[in-house]
């Protein structure tokens, strides 16, 4: 019988984990300076084991302080956006939901734009901290407006998110129209999603939110399956729907806030990764969450690598790559029956 078992989840996660490691290795060897694969591996292993590394000093710097942290960051963000996208689709009962649907992105963008305009983006972690704060404030505002008699209603929350979002876009437009030419370039790259201005320190800033968030959601994975068959069905089967909703919304929003704060608005990842996983492995969250996290991480690292090397030495914003892949893929989704039919 084709059902999700612990064994299946473990085997699949291991395979996808291996794929992720291979993509990370590919990502750190290519670029404007090519570091041989063997050198990359020994440098990484030796830095982990704390021994002095092989390879030239330049190679070590490129791998350890530039490419590897960037790949890890892209991986965390890819995992975070994919998982939170999957959760928003389930909770809002809307296949078109993405991590930004509740306006978290708008808050992060306003925070980032203010930081850029005030010159904070030159400080280490200035930009990610500012946009993280912006995102958190937005989450709180949206939940405050989205609540109705102390309960969360998906549609009210969705409306609160959309309205907050459009208000925040108006703010962003205002800031863009009063900004200088040099700032404009940074702002636009941020809005398109870009890893080039993120620092290695940002990893430690977002790691706890993303990992804890994903774990919390995985803890409730089976209950999330039940909520897909409707609130009353889930209640009737013993799920505390109210608590499940609140914790899942908050976890997914925190994951999104952390992800957006380090790299801006990367589109499509949170939409296409969970849908592709569902098409291949089915909608069970016990498999969907780990598979989305690992595939999302691989996808974003690969996209970011292409963004670096495609027109090197010019770097493209990674959002351009994900959208270029995501657009055609989404058309394909619309043409295939299974996911969209229930709309």
């Amino acid at each position: 019988m084709k059902i999700v078992t612990a064994k299946k989840v473990i085997i699949l996660s291991t395979l996808l984990g291996i794929l992720l490691i291979l993509i990370i290795l590919f990502s750190i060897t290519v670029g404007s300076v090519r570091v041989p694969l063997l050198h990359s591996i020994t440098i990484l292993l030796q830095s982990i084991l704390g021994v002095k590394g092989e390879g030239t000093e330049i190679e070590q710097t490129i791998i350890l302080s530039l490419r590897f942290p960037r790949a890890i960051l892209a991986g965390l963000v890819g995992a975070g956006l994919s998982v939170s996208g999957a959760i928003f689709q389930a909770l809002l009962r809307n296949p078109l939901a993405d991590p930004y649907i509740l306006g978290v992105s708008g808050g992060a963008a306003v925070g980032a734009v203010i930081a850029i305009l005030m010159g904070l983006s030159t400080l280490s972690l200035g930009l990610p901290l500012a946009s993280f704060v912006g995102a958190l404030v937005t989450v709180m505002v949206v939940f405050y407006f989205g609540k109705q008699d102390a309960k969360i209603h998906p549609n009210t929350l969705l409306l609160a998110g959309v309205i907050t979002s459009s208000f925040l876009s108006a703010l962003i437009m205002f800031f863009i129209s009063v900004s200088q030419k040099e700032e404009l370039h940074t702002i636009i790259f941020w809005l398109m999603g870009d890893f080039s201005f993120s620092s290695a320190k940002a990893i430690y800033m977002i790691l706890p939110y993303i990992l804890l968030g994903i774990f919390l959601l995985y803890f409730n994975a089976r209950q999330l399956n039940l909520i897909l068959s409707g609130e009353e069905n889930a209640l009737q089967l013993g799920v505390d729907v109210e608590r499940l909703r609140l914790t899942s919304y908050l976890a997914a929003s925190l994951i999104t806030a952390a992800s957006v704060s380090v790299c801006g608005l990367i589109g499509f990842v949170g939409l296409i990764v969970p849908h592709s996983v569902r098409l291949v492995f089915g909608p069970d969250h016990r498999l969907l969450i780990p598979a989305s996290a690992l595939i999302g991480a691989s996808f974003l690292i690969a996209s970011d690598t292409f963004a670096r090397i495609l027109l090197a030495p010019i770097e493209l914003p990674v959002g351009v790559i994900t959208a270029a892949f995501g657009g055609p893929f989404f058309i394909y989704l619309l043409k295939t029956r299974k996911v969209i039919k229930t709309l």
Binding site: T5, R222, L228, G238, D284, K341
Partner: protein, 260 residues
């Protein structure tokens, strides 16, 4: 088994149920009938604590329902919904397995025993042949059977049915009701069914409860409840009551306007 003690319920301002009391014995087949908006569905939801009454109390085996844990209720009472809208196409097997949810903790996968119980439930409901099919490829009748299988997988003592025969053709209606009746007679399951079809309710139920505007109008055997006078008073329409030619239970025929 279930003791409903003068409960009243309202969603907003107006009372939907007013001072309703009755009891359901173990192994009984109870039919609830009444016009649209008379409170039948609401009462079913209260019996499995999807809703809680503002006044009065429901007891399950002499324990107050509101004191019970939600998962404990799910192990004793199962609700077969009218229709569930699934967002993503789960397969039949996965839906039935969800009935085991109350027995599983966080981070748990279904055990061998859960699979056995699920398989048996699918055998009973004759859905085993299409257990691998996605739900959105099934007909209305097949989907109904999937949800009754899910309810059986909960291993409940009481099954609550909300309009089980709505949108089914007569073949599927009788198939489904015979299945319910077998569960009731052979496995001793207690059944509470809300239905608009009075002929079906009359034929299958041990006792009927007739609701009007949130109150119990009449409670008793089908012969006591389904009388011309009761139907005309509660539904406000003319009806002809005679007897089922084979079983002898009361039967209703509707009369068109203008006389015959």
């Amino acid at each position: 088994m279930i003791e409903v003690n003068s409960i009243s319920f309202r969603y907003h301002k107006d009372w939907v149920l007013r001072n309703v009391s009755f009891s359901v014995g173990k192994g009984e087949f109870i039919g609830m009938i009444g016009p649209n908006g008379s409170g039948k569905s609401t009462l079913l939801k209260i019996l499995c604590r999807l809703l809680s009454p503002q006044q009065g109390e429901v007891f399950f085996e002499s324990a107050p329902l509101k004191k019970l844990n939600r998962t404990d209720i799910a192990k004793k009472v199962a609700l077969v919904p009218q229709e569930a809208h699934l967002l993503f196409p789960f397969r039949v097997m996965e839906i039935v397995l969800m009935g085991r949810s109350p027995y599983l903790g966080h981070l748990m996968f279904e055990r061998e025993r859960d699979l056995e119980i699920t398989k048996k439930a699918m055998e009973w409901t004759k859905i085993l042949p299409f257990s691998e099919r996605p739900m959105d490829e099934l007909s209305g009748g097949e989907r109904k059977r999937v949800f009754i299988a899910r309810a059986l997988a909960q291993e409940p003592e009481v099954i609550l049915l909300d309009e089980p025969t709505a949108n089914l053709d007569i073949h599927h209606q009788i198939d489904f009701l015979n299945l319910i009746l077998t569960l009731n007679r052979e496995r001793g399951l207690t059944i509470v069914m809300a239905s608009h079809d009075m002929n079906i309710a009359s034929e299958f139920s041990d006792r009927l409860i007739l609701f009007q505007q949130g109150r119990i109008w009449k409670m008793g055997t089908p012969g006591e409840v389904i009388t011309q006078e009761n139907i005309e008073r509660v539904y406000g329409c003319e009806a002809w009551v005679d007897q089922h030619p084979v079983s002898g239970t009361p039967r209703i025929s509707l009369l068109k306007k203008g006389g015959y």
